[in-house]
Subunit: 483 residues, 2 copies
């Protein structure tokens, strides 16, 4: 591994984080709150660690696949660790491990919280907490659409006809261009949503917080009872639509920008995603009508919001869905595993993988019936190669494997099964709230330190699509020489 | 499809079932109970339907893969339907759907019951109920070790160096020989266990019932509180050992019979299986000690029994494990998905598949670290081909997919999440009891008709390793001409 180059990259990342704290510091200045000092200390620390690393002079500037994974894994971990400092320094979260949990939850756009009381926190700290979602979402976009396809992690590259294609070994020069386009789209969506939420009646500060949570598909709110606190249908509709937008592949918006409006409806993953969303909304609306809400309108309102919130892995709630009938809750629970589309800010397994897995199952049945015929799995009119399918199937197993392992550790806390299973599903899939104790009206504060550490890693593992973090556990990952 | 040949085979199967009822009829004669007439009617019906089918004269005697799957799927369904008649005719189970559930549960060696009171049933009926386990276990052995490898369903064939190998299209002549060897081993194990249980103090009738339930890894008991009713440590140890024996690959015993004792310990799947068993027993023993049982001995006694019972998919209980701490319960829950070894009478995903999936995950991580090196997945010293691995990964997804679909239907009943999830896991994996309402001291009687039907299909799908039943849903399966 090219250690010096990895360290240099991490240094650059920390300096970027120092700059990213400035808006939150500005908010603290405006509200004259406790965040001011905390942010200042954190920025100084970031510069003190980042600058020496950044000024390292590696003999070679080559970044190989392994180095890329190391930068991604350690980058996310380091940024989260430093990002937790404002919570600690300001006294908002007195426990260091709780602060780290909250920061990891922020950057991974999970939205799971250990806070029992949110509204009394300093505005600057609340702003920072939600801003981490916005940065995390951006990081993920760049990671999945610009970096990962080029380092051959590859299952997502079938989506990207216009990408530089597989170029194993080195980060490609076009990465910069792709990233710039993505940032622009992301920025425009953010500004539009803030404006709309202000029009809907939310204060500017709340509009910013909820927009960061939406476009990053994070889910942190500045209200104890999340979006439900406003009881504002207009705002709920805006957030629902923007959650769904940010759960879809951003490269589609690039196509739309170029005038190719059909791309959206021709895209198989997008249609599958909207199909799952529609089916889930209908089923849950029927289930809620009469049993939870007396009007079909209210049922539709909350089922739409909740389905969009869970499948996009955002995690906002408009009502206490933990009180819903089990059929609705289980649909939401399984949506936690499906997640957003590839190339979105959403997490979990992703629609394209689920779609291709179902297609594979179908072609395998056809293969049994007609052993001598050839049935390729098709996506977007093209046959998907065996290697990609194989990787997707491995990913599915790896995801379930990690889920089971984490559940067993968390179960040592002795919570009920629903809390245990959903706490892992909600963190691994980067959703945020689960059910029961970690439900929309609950939080993760009563979990043990061990569980908080395991769930923090679950968030990172889910966010980085498993492999970067798992690689850290392999001894040969650390050997200096590539073969 | 060669319809006439399929029907003829089904006819033969029904006549075999008529013969298989005779021992139960004999028990009813001895105890002079209500089963007598019920068995007689059933036998007459079986002959009335079976004989005409059996005497069909197909133009061609060829059985292609598809026909094989059709025989297996319909064979299992028909035999279960007719097998439920003695319950109905004798008035032991007044509801037809309940009787079918019980019979499917018997033949698939599941052991899930809708009965709320078992001990008052006629002895003949109780004998028949458990005898279906014994036949089901035998059927599965022949299916997985003698028939399936030869019709190219194939993921298990890596286990069978001595099998005729893949010979897609036709059932092979050597099938008869393999089946005979398997029957002999199965028969010997049965007799030995009955003798040992009688020595341990169980009445002969109870010894037979529990042996059928053990060797078939079924789990039906003639006592309301299962094996725990005897509070007999010796019997529990015997049953534990025999459950573990019957959850391992029977072809290993063939090797041992031929004098190759090392085969057992050289077999990677067997070692993995014993490793999982040992680790689970240790973890649960520690978890139970102090919290549920005051002595380490009692903890070990019940944890060994329960781990063996669940991983082998038998489903007997020595105590109410539903009252155990959540860590222990979740271990048992996940063991429900692992199940027995390939070529055993146990169900679920099977150890070899889990082992190979874990190995695949590990090689894929190595592949990322060293992109230019080649890391084959090895099993028993040989590289496993990509096609087999791909099939195993597909199987894993298919299993989880069916699980999710069934859970959603069952959740319409409105039971708690634990009951809902475990009822499906326990039927799909052919275990029997789950947790909460369907726990070791509960039963499936309060489930809706829809759930009972869905769970019956879950048992069949699990037992036949998914594809035979899923194929029935494909329109092209029913077309007459092969391409």
């Amino acid at each position: 591994m090219n250690f010096k180059m990895v360290l240099k990259s991490l240094g650059i990342l920390l300096i970027c984080e120092a700059i990213a704290i400035i808006p939150s510091l500005a908010v603290s200045v405006i509200y004259n709150d406790k965040g001011l000092q905390a942010f200042a200390y954190t920025i100084l620390l970031l510069i003190a660690v980042g600058l020496p690393l950044m000024s390292l002079k590696p003999q070679s500037r080559s970044i190989y696949t392994r180095d890329g994974f190391a930068i991604v894994a350690f980058g996310w971990i380091l940024v989260s660790l430093f990002g937790s400092l404002p919570f600690y320094f300001s006294g908002s979260i007195p426990s260091l491990i709780d602060g780290i949990f909250e920061a990891v939850s922020g950057f991974t756009t999970t939205g799971a919280s250990i806070l029992t009381e949110i509204e009394s926190l300093p505005k600057g700290i609340l702003f920072w907490r939600s801003f981490t979602h916005w940065m995390g979402g951006m990081g993920v976009l760049v990671l999945t659409l610009a970096i990962l396809p080029s380092v051959g992690a590859g299952t997502l590259q079938i989506m990207k006809a216009e990408s530089p294609g597989p170029n194993p070994g080195k980060l490609v020069p076009r990465m910069g261009k792709t990233a710039k386009i993505l940032y622009s789209i992301y920025f425009v969506i953010t500004v539009v949503q803030i404006i709309l939420l202000v029009i809907s009646g939310l204060p500017l500060f709340d509009a910013c917080v909820h927009t960061f949570g939406t476009v990053g598909t994070g889910g942190f709110s500045n209200m104890n009872t999340s979006v439900g606190a406003y009881n504002n249908v207009f705002a709920e509709v805006i957030i629902t639509v923007f959650m769904l937008i940010c759960g879809a592949n951003f490269s589609l918006y690039y196509q739309v920008m170029k005038g190719n409006f059909k791309a959206l409806f021709k895209d198989e993953e997008f249609r599958f995603y909207m199909g799952v969303v529609t089916a889930s909304i209908i089923l849950i609306t029927i289930n809620l009508y009469g049993s939870v809400f007396v009007s079909i309108g209210e049922s539709l309102r909350h089922s739409s919001f909740q389905v969009a919130s869970i499948i996009t892995t955002t995690g906002y709630s408009s009502t206490d869905f933990d009180k819903w009938p089990i059929f609705s809750k289980l649909i939401l629970f399984f949506l936690m595993f499906i997640g957003g589309c590839a190339g979105s800010t959403g997490g979990a397994i992703k629609n394209i993988r689920i779609l291709l897995l179902i297609k594979t199952l179908k072609t395998e049945l056809m293969q049994i019936i007609h052993p001598r015929a050839v049935y390729p799995v098709r996506f977007g009119g093209k046959a998907v190669d065996e290697k990609t399918l194989s990787e997707i199937k491995s990913f599915f197993f790896a995801y379930i494997f990690i889920f089971v392992a984490a559940v067993l550790v968390v179960s040592l806390d002795g919570f009920d099964i629903v809390t245990t299973l959903s706490s892992v599903a909600a963190t691994l899939g980067n959703i945020g709230p689960g059910f029961a104790i970690v439900g929309p009206m609950g939080n993760f504060s009563t979990m043990s330190v061990l569980s908080k550490i395991v769930l923090s890693f679950s968030m990172l593992i889910g966010r980085l699509e498993i492999y970067p973090i798992l690689l850290l556990t392999m001894p040969s990952f650390w050997k200096k020489v590539n073969i």
